[in-house]
Every structure is written in structure tokens, then in C-alpha cells.
């Protein structure tokens, strides 16, 4: 495996350099074993395309999103103001993140607290890398495969980013099939609103199982996601149907990285 280069902001600054973009890794991307693979895939793509980026490393802290959704506005704003101090100290202008929750919070809720940055989701970055010709892939292992994309709520409905992930998937020469509930009508995976961190209330089904059924109806070989939490939920859902040997749940970045042999 090729070495990955992941400079931190502090290292860049010490070298007198400024990155084009800050890669906001997020808590899942930093600590969750599954999500770390997505983080690495993104880094590999950034390295390959010679995008000058940096991470905050240990200076990054939770955006406060789950606290806010769970009603703890104090904690959210504490986190936000701390992060804004760090981001502003490094004069960050542009942020890319693989987590739609971080994306939404940084993009929409930080400006009101004084943190103004251009924030994009990694699928938007991938889309523009393709458009600029910096990134090319052949379908590779995905050619002709049946892929269905699950819209993360905080990317789709919350911020109306529906096309970027699909445009990137198109590059894989695969067969893209939509679930009956997709885009604005996409069903949640069940993780949002801090549900990821608690047991669900009493009901007759888990939300991720309901959503996985939508996906299974399309008979996919791969369920593509753009959110570490959706990824966990859909992976568990697929296991629930004992389909983990037939159906893979992958982040779009992982697919692009592996189609590019990274």
C-alpha cells in the first residue's frame, strides 16, 4: 500500500504553507473503525489529485451536532465556539468533510456564531475533481455492477445535495438503480437526531431494517452511502437479512479510491 500523506494544520503552518482546503475528519472518521477506512480513501484520492489539504488532527473537536439535535444547545455552542477559534486561528477558508452532519453544522450553524467558511461534502469535492479533469476512473471492479445510493438526510433534504453523489457514481460505469424512496423522499437510516447514540423507542421495527428493505428491493450488489452513520446503519441492516456476503455497503469515496487502484 502506498504511503499516505496527511499533514496537520500545525505542521503546514510551521512549514509556512497554507492548504487549499481543510479536511474535517469528524468523530466517526477519526475513531470508528469502519469510518476510518472512508477517511483513508479520501486521503488517498486527495493525495493522488495533489490537492493541498490538511487536517486539524488532535485540535479537531466534535462539531456539537449530536448535542444540538439532542437539545443541549449549551454544549453545542461551546463546541462550536471552540472550533471556530481554532479554525479562525488557522485562517481556514474552505472545509471538506465526509460527514453530512459535520457538513450541515459547519455550513449552516457556525456562521451565526461567527464561523464563516466555504463548506463542501466530499462527494462535491469528488465531483469537482472529476469536472476539472484531475480525477479519472475506469469502472474497474464496479463496471456493470448494480448500485443503489442511499441519500443521507443531512446531505439530501437538509441541504438539497442530491446530484453530486450520483454524478460521481456515474463515473463508475455501473448500473445505478434508485430505491422507491429516494432523493427528497429518501427514508432516513435511523441514525440522525442523536439516535445513533441511543436505543430506539419502542416500536415494531428498526428504522435501518425498513430502509435496508428499500435497498434490497432494487436487488443491488452495492449500497452506496455518503455518511459514516448511514454506512453503519445500512451495514447492520444488510447483516440483519444475512446478506453481508452478497451486498457490500460502501462509501462513494471508497468506491472511487478502489476503482482508481488506490
Amino acid at each position: 500500500m502506498s504511503e499516505i500523506k496527511v499533514p496537520t494544520m500545525a505542521e503546514m503552518m510551521a512549514a509556512g504553507e497554507t492548504p487549499e482546503v481543510l479536511f474535517w475528519v469528524g468523530c466517526a472518521g477519526s475513531f470508528d473503525d469502519r469510518a476510518k477506512k472512508i477517511t483513508k480513501a479520501i486521503v488517498k484520492i486527495l493525495n493522488k489529485c495533489n490537492v493541498k489539504f490538511a487536517v486539524l488532527g488532535t485540535e479537531e473537536a466534535c462539531t456539537g451536532d449530536p448535542a444540538k439535535r439532542a437539545g443541549n444547545e449549551f454544549l453545542f455552542q461551546m463546541q462550536a465556539m471552540m472550533n471556530i477559534q481554532v479554525l479562525d486561528a488557522y485562517e481556514v477558508k474552505k472545509i471538506v468533510t465526509a460527514c453530512p452532519h459535520c457538513f450541515n453544522t459547519l455550513k449552516n450553524e457556525y456562521p451565526g456564531l461567527g464561523g464563516n467558511y466555504e463548506v463542501i461534502h466530499h462527494t462535491q469535492l469528488l465531483e469537482s475533481l472529476f469536472n476539472e479533469g484531475k480525477l479519472q476512473v475506469e469502472g474497474g471492479e464496479f463496471k456493470g455492477k448494480k448500485i443503489t445510493f442511499h441519500d443521507p438526510c443531512y446531505l439530501g433534504r437538509a441541504n438539497e445535495v442530491y446530484e453530486a453523489p450520483r454524478n460521481v457514481l456515474q463515473k463508475l460505469d455501473a448500473e445505478l438503480v434508485e430505491m422507491k424512496r429516494c432523493k427528497a423522499k429518501g427514508l432516513c437510516c435511523g441514525a440522525g437526531g442523536a439516535q445513533m447514540f441511543k436505543e430506539a423507542e419502542k416500536g415494531n421495527k428498526e428504522v435501518n431494517v425498513e430502509r435496508t428493505e428499500d435497498a434490497l428491493e432494487t436487488n443491488p450488489q452495492i449500497i452506496a452511502t455518503g455518511c459514516p452513520f448511514c454506512n453503519t446503519m445500512m451495514t447492520d441492516g444488510v447483516k440483519n437479512f444475512n446478506k453481508e456476503n452478497d451486498i457490500k455497503v460502501l462509501d462513494i469515496a471508497e468506491m472511487i479510491a478502489s476503482a482508481s487502484d488506490l
Binding site: A158, L187, G190
Partner: protein, 443 residues
């Protein structure tokens, strides 16, 4: 002035006065909410109103009910022209006062109303069937029993009656005019699209006296149904026919994922984070003002748009039928949240009008909405997306959570742990913040 004109005027004024009285109360109730500035972006708001409220753009995302609803909606709008004529005729004792001056255009308008009424009738039957025979799931959820269920049907019965009266009136008048006995100028067919067929075929064999009676029954029936509808509206989900417009106009234009940043919290957090801050420099705004509660416990803690939302809710259940929590059998139903707000604000409003210090010891949270419902939400915004009149149940749910967490420290244990982790470890899990970059060197 004839006795019928007097009766007409009395009924009309009585209904209008009652309607105005109830609407005033409703506006008072809406004003119980906290202030919120939604006067920005007038152009964008107007455009949204034209698209979503006038243009029904979100209705047609479900094509069958969407298009059928448009039949009733457009029929309703055009029938108002006929209603205006009825009012003028009723007051002045004339008959079809617009017929002479408008001529061919009158025939066109009444024909249009007839065609739309026929389409509305189809819609009415379909809707009745969807509610009562097909039992479409969103119409038979637990919050849709009792009054809400009856309310949904009453309007359809009224719609049916209204269309019947319109055709009785026009059909009988057509038959009369064919015999040269209509009170309208001239003789021969009016040429209205549907009653010119109904007239001879249904009413053709009746004598003049019966026809005059039927024509009057149709005419008065039409008028009485509309007046009855007006009196009934303030108690019904059908208030949306008016409230949908301001409701959409004042709806949130920002990205759906953006939750408000609470200003009161910002001030405190800034003080906490600024080592030089003088804690006593904080403005003691108004010493007599009640300290504002964090979040929402009762309807007075809501903002006025939340309450306007509740009065505009059509109880269509599109929100609930797309809510992941509700779909998977949890208690949460965004429609019920809106219905609860309306019921509670009616109760509080009524109480306050009797006694300015009204306190029944009840509250929206607890007596109407349970914590279990509040915590089942994934904040997915499906309800907001689906609502045809841009209602935002999610913002209410979040404000209820804010109250629970910040005022009462009532929070599911796992979320308490999550918060502690964020505070101590800068992540919702128990990892050391110093390990945050370890992934870089792992395989």
C-alpha cells in the same frame, strides 16, 4: 325590501360576524407565541407562496390525491364568482344579475364552474372512498379518531351537497328558461356546459311551480352551505384554505438542516469563554421581565409561526406517513404534534380570555406530547419536506427536547453519556482526544 332579502342579509351578516369573531380569537392565540422575525426576503417569500400555496406544487408530489385536490381547490375559487352574484342577488332581490351585462362571458364562467364542480364531485367521492373504504393508512392512524375523523368527512359531505345544490339551481333554471319562465332575461337555453344537458333531461318534465321551488332550494342551499362552512371553518382543519397562504409566506426559507442558534445561550457561552468578561456587565435587560425559559414546555414558549403552523395543518398526514419513527411503529407522529399544539393553544387561549392569570397546571409537554414521542425523532426532515403547506413539526420537537434537557435535565441515559463524552473527550464516544489522529498511522 322583501322578507327573503332580509332573511338573507341576517344570515349573511350573522355568519360573517361569527367568522370574524373566531378569527380574531385565533389571531390572539397565535400571538401568544414568542416573537420571531420573518419579515425578511419578501420577494422570495412571495415566490414561495405563489409556488407552494397558490400553485400547490407540493400537493402533486403524490399525483392522485394532488390532482383531485386541485379539482376541489380550483372549483372552490371559481365558485366564489357565483357566490358574489348570489350575495348581490340576495341583497337586492335580483336574479342572475351578472347574466345581462356579462353575456357570453357569463355563460363561459358558469360553464367553467359547472365543469369544475363535476370534477370536484369526482374528487369528493374518491376522497370519501380513500378515507372510509380503502382506509389509506395515513387517514386511520390513532390520532385520526373522533373529531378529526368526522371533520375529514364533514367537509366532503358539504362539498357533495354544494355541488348538488349548484346543479339543482342551474338545471331547474335551465328548464324554466326553456319554457320562458325563468326570472332571468329572455328565453331558451342559457347554454351552460352541464345544466343545458341536465335541464331538459332531469328537470324537463316538471311543472313551473316545482321548478321555481327547486331553483330556490338550489340557490338557498348553495348559500346556506357556504355560510355554514364559514361558521364551521374555525373549528376545522379546513382553516387551511385561508391559513395556508400566510403559513407558507412565513415559513422557513433557510436550509432545512439548519437549526436555530439560541441567542440566550450564545450570550452565556460567550461570557463563559471570554476570560476578560465581567460577569456583572451582562445587561440586566428588564428586571421585571420573566426569565425566558429555554426551549418549549407549553404553547406560550412556542414562537408564533409554530402556532400559525398548527392552525394551518390540514391533518393530511403526509408528514406522518413519511416519518421513519412512525413507519416503524414508534409513538411519534408529526401530525399529532401539530394537532396537539392546536388543541392546547385553543385551551390556553380560552382560559386566558376568561382569566388573565389562567393556569390549569397542564402543559403541552407531558399532558399532550410525551417524552417518548419527543425522543423518537431522527430529525430527518421528511415531515417538513412532505408538508404541502410548509409546516415545520421538527422545530417544535427540537424545542421540546431543549426544554427537557436544559431546564429539567431529563434526557435518555445514553444521550447523557454521549454529552459527557463530547464534553470530556471532544467526541460522542469515550476515546481520548489525543488519539484523534491515530488513524493516520494505522493500517
Amino acid at each position: 325590501m322583501g322578507i327573503s332579502s332580509i332573511a338573507f342579509i341576517l344570515i349573511f351578516l350573522g355568519a360573517a360576524a361569527f367568522f370574524a369573531f373566531k378569527i380574531r380569537q385565533i389571531i390572539q392565540n397565535i400571538k401568544l407565541g414568542r416573537s420571531l422575525d420573518r419579515t425578511d426576503n419578501k420577494g422570495e417569500r412571495l415566490k414561495t407562496t405563489i409556488r407552494v400555496a397558490l400553485g400547490q406544487s407540493k400537493m402533486v408530489t403524490r399525483p392522485i390525491p394532488g390532482i383531485l385536490h386541485i379539482f376541489i381547490y380550483v372549483a372552490f375559487i371559481f365558485t366564489q364568482i357565483e357566490l358574489i352574484e348570489i350575495i348581490i342577488d340576495g341583497v337586492s332581490g335580483n336574479h342572475r344579475i351578472f347574466f345581462e351585462p356579462l353575456g357570453g362571458f357569463y355563460v363561459f364562467i358558469i360553464s367553467l364552474i359547472e365543469v369544475l364542480s363535476a370534477l370536484a364531485l369526482i374528487a369528493t367521492f374518491t376522497f370519501l372512498a380513500r378515507r372510509n373504504l380503502l382506509k389509506i393508512p395515513r387517514f386511520v392512524k390513532s390520532e385520526m379518531t373522533g373529531w378529526p375523523k368526522l371533520d375529514g368527512n364533514i367537509i366532503l359531505y358539504l362539498e357533495f351537497l354544494l355541488v348538488m345544490f349548484i346543479f339543482t339551481m342551474n338545471g331547474a333554471d335551465e328548464a324554466l328558461r326553456l319554457q320562458g319562465a325563468s326570472h332571468a332575461e329572455g328565453s331558451g337555453s342559457f347554454g351552460f356546459a352541464i345544466s343545458s344537458i341536465l335541464g331538459p333531461n332531469v328537470f324537463g318534465s316538471m311543472d313551473v311551480a316545482t321548478l321555481h321551488l327547486l331553483e330556490r332550494i338550489g340557490w338557498w342551499g348553495h348559500f346556506i352551505v357556504v355560510m355554514g362552512f364559514m361558521v364551521y371553518l374555525p373549528f376545522s382543519k379546513h382553516l387551511h384554505i385561508f391559513f395556508a397562504f400566510p403559513n407558507v409566506y412565513f415559513s422557513n426559507l433557510k436550509p432545512k438542516g439548519q437549526f436555530t442558534n439560541m441567542e440566550a445561550v450564545t450570550n452565556e457561552v460567550k461570557l463563559m469563554m471570554d476570560p476578560n468578561a465581567d460577569p456583572f456587565a451582562a445587561p440586566a435587560a428588564d428586571a421585571n421581565a420573566e426569565p425566558q425559559r429555554f426551549g418549549v414546555k407549553d404553547v406560550k414558549d412556542l414562537n408564533w409561526v409554530n402556532i400559525l403552523n398548527a392552525y394551518s395543518c390540514t391533518e393530511c398526514g403526509r408528514c406522518t406517513s413519511s416519518c421513519p419513527a412512525n413507519i416503524t411503529g414508534k409513538k411519534l407522529s408529526p401530525r399529532k404534534i401539530m394537532m396537539d399544539v392546536r388543541d392546547r393553544v385553543e385551551e390556553v387561549g380560552k382560559g386566558l380570555r376568561k382569566d388573565p392569570n389562567f393556569d390549569d397546571g397542564k402543559s403541552l409537554l407531558g399532558d399532550y406530547i410525551t417524552e417518548e414521542e419527543v425522543w423518537a425523532c431522527t430529525s430527518c426532515n421528511a415531515c417538513v419536506q412532505e408538508c404541502p403547506v410548509n409546516i415545520d413539526p421538527l422545530s417544535i420537537i427540537v424545542d421540546l427536547r431543549r426544554y427537557l434537557v436544559m431546564e429539567e435535565s431529563k434526557i435518555p441515559a445514553e444521550l447523557m453519556t454521549m454529552n459527557t463524552n463530547i464534553e470530556n473527550n471532544q467526541a460522542p464516544w469515550q476515546f481520548s482526544p489525543t488519539d484523534r489522529l491515530n488513524w493516520r498511522d494505522e493500517d
